[in-house]
């Protein structure tokens, strides 16, 4: 490519030097790949569906949004709407209702999973720790309607 002004002697010297160092560098590279080829311990691939039982996500892994519920299915949500406001995509829709005492409680916690980016800002914004990101990653579905879910089983306690 580049035109260099060098004498013939220099050119021959460089040429001969390249003839020695070139193959040597290639052999160095080959030695690495041979070492990797003959050492099956280096394999890092995980066989995914087979290792499902042992595969555990980290505690903080952000999967699908879910509601923290106790054994009876009660949640801690007060329908304050902080999560709804913190969501950048409008994936959360908190529909409040009034209980018998006339207090504003959570009616339906609608979660649009399709538009969620799993940023976790809602969990951060919640003052009561009522929601969490479940470590669930197999969330693909064939039914688009199933992506719109209601997270709470019961009405909020207020």
């Amino acid at each position: 490519m580049e035109q260099k002004n060098i004498s013939t002697k220099q050119y021959i010297k460089e040429y001969l030097k390249k003839c020695v160092t070139g193959p040597w560098s290639l052999l160095c590279g080959l030695s690495v790949s041979l070492r990797y080829f003959f050492n099956p311990k280096r394999i890092v691939t995980e066989q995914y569906p087979e290792n499902r039982k042992t595969l555990k996500m980290h505690e903080r892994f952000r999967g699908r949004l879910s509601m923290v519920e106790d054994a009876d299915g009660n949640n801690r949500c007060t329908a304050c709407g902080m999560c709804e406001r913190s969501c950048p995509n409008g994936s959360i829709n908190v529909q409040a209702t009034k209980n018998i005492a006339g207090k504003k409680v959570l009616g339906r916690y609608v979660y649009h999973f399709a538009s969620c980016t799993q940023c976790g800002l809602c969990v951060e914004a919640c003052p009561f720790g009522a929601i969490e990101m479940a470590p669930e990653f197999e969330v693909a579905t064939t039914d688009i309607k199933s992506l719109e879910m209601i997270l709470n089983k019961k009405e909020g306690q207020g």
Partner: protein, 383 residues
């Protein structure tokens, strides 16, 4: 402009009787091309295999992030910054957080500073490993691609444990971060560094001295120091041209001023220098990480007491050194909980601008090498 139309200024004369007759033809490289690293279109005027002129076209994944930010709260911009340069997501987070901290007037405790620096350097190693992989891959050695990504996955495992996500970390906040690091963080980083030491030796043996790599990258895509400054290049691209500038040292943020590290420099400005600077930076990052492991405060608060969500009205600017270069955030805050304007200065955008200058008279193969060593990330260019 349609894909078949010539870009303005491209003149290909077909009249054989004319004196200006040329055999030149016009090729679209991209938006779907294996080595443009994303949806970037390079309109190339070629004479045989020689590039006469090149015009980059971008905007294929323009999402209007800066405009979107104006209708969002301040915190909601963090997930956005992840999605600009996805290879350095954790560093972009810090860049935004630093600008906000200036406006919110909060500081961070020492432990948080160490967390920040360590995650920064881990992110830098991950990004440079992707560069290593793509450089080898673009030159035709698919094995390098897997080698680079193999170690990067280990970094991402650590980052996932800390931040909860592999790619879009969304971790740093003004005044601290979302979580403290888990107890396993320091041992894991230590184990990773020990693994990296030996692996990097293998990888350099594999690629650095390789005669074909040297032939293909030495003297190719030379960027002079003047051009590097004139075109606002930064990061390893500028440092390979002899521009001695690193935000971590020239304008230190976090606790970089207390750490000992060198800024690798090279003076030829060709592809091989850019490669070498990046490899040297991996070693420097490992050095910084080792220092941080030694000094890491075992106890202490990991975030500031106050959790502000609003900036005082004014203009705030922060700059950090990501793996790609200078990443600056400029925030204009007005009253209210939404920014008036957020502007991001990404490192990849100016690098694409200088492409035409670098690949004049070279071939398509060289263009691939140059693209690999500029290491652009297209979502960050389009934003």
């Amino acid at each position: 402009m349609s894909m078949t139309q010539l870009p303005p200024g491209f003149k290909i004369i077909r009249d054989e009787n004319s004196e200006a007759y040329s055999d030149e033809f016009f090729v679209n490289m991209g938006p779907q091309h294996p080595s443009t690293h994303g949806a970037l279109r390079l309109a190339i005027r070629m004479d045989g295999e020689t590039i006469v002129e090149l015009v980059p076209h971008h905007g294929y994944i323009h999402r209007g992030m800066e405009k979107q930010a104006e209708s969002m709260s301040y915190l909601q911009y963090f997930p956005m910054s992840d999605r600009q340069d996805y290879l350095t997501a954790i560093q972009n987070n810090l860049g935004v957080a630093l600008a906000y901290e200036k406006g919110m007037n909060v500081g961070v405790p020492l432990r948080q500073e160490y967390i920040r620096v360590m995650l920064q350097e881990l992110g830098r190693i991950a990004s440079h490993l992707v560069f290593f992989g793509c450089f080898g891959g673009d030159l035709g050695g698919q094995t390098c691609l897997l080698f680079g990504f193999k170690e990067r996955e280990m970094v991402h495992d650590i980052l996932e444990e800390v931040t909860g996500s592999r790619l879009t970390m969304n971790y740093f906040r003004p005044g601290g971060s979302r979580f403290d690091v888990p107890d396993t963080f320091i041992p894991r980083v230590k184990a990773f560094l020990d693994h990296m030491e030996s692996t990097m030796k293998d990888y350099e043996r594999f690629l650095s001295k390789n005669v074909i790599v040297r032939e293909r990258s030495i003297g190719i895509g030379v960027l002079s120091k003047e051009d590097a400054i004139a075109y606002a290049c930064s990061g390893p691209v500028a440092r390979a041209s002899g521009v001695n500038f690193d935000v971590r040292r020239n304008n230190p943020y976090s606790i970089y001023s207390q750490l000992e590290f060198d800024v690798p420099l090279a003076y030829n400005g060709d592809c091989y220098d850019r490669y070498n600077v990046r490899i040297a930076e991996i070693h420097e990052s490992m050095r910084i990480l080792r220092q941080c492991i030694d000094k890491f405060p075992a106890e202490g608060p990991w975030r500031s007491k106050e959790k502000p969500v609003k900036l005082a009205p004014g203009r705030y600017y922060s700059e950090i050194e990501t793996a790609k270069g200078l990443y600056a955030t400029y925030v204009v805050a007005a009253a209210g909980d939404k920014p008036y304007r957020i502007h991001t200065r990404g490192p990849s955008f100016p690098h694409i601008g200088v492409l035409n200058k670098m690949c004049q008279g070279l071939t398509v193969s060289d263009l691939v090498t140059i693209m690999a060593t500029l290491d652009p990330v297209i979502p960050e260019i389009d934003r």
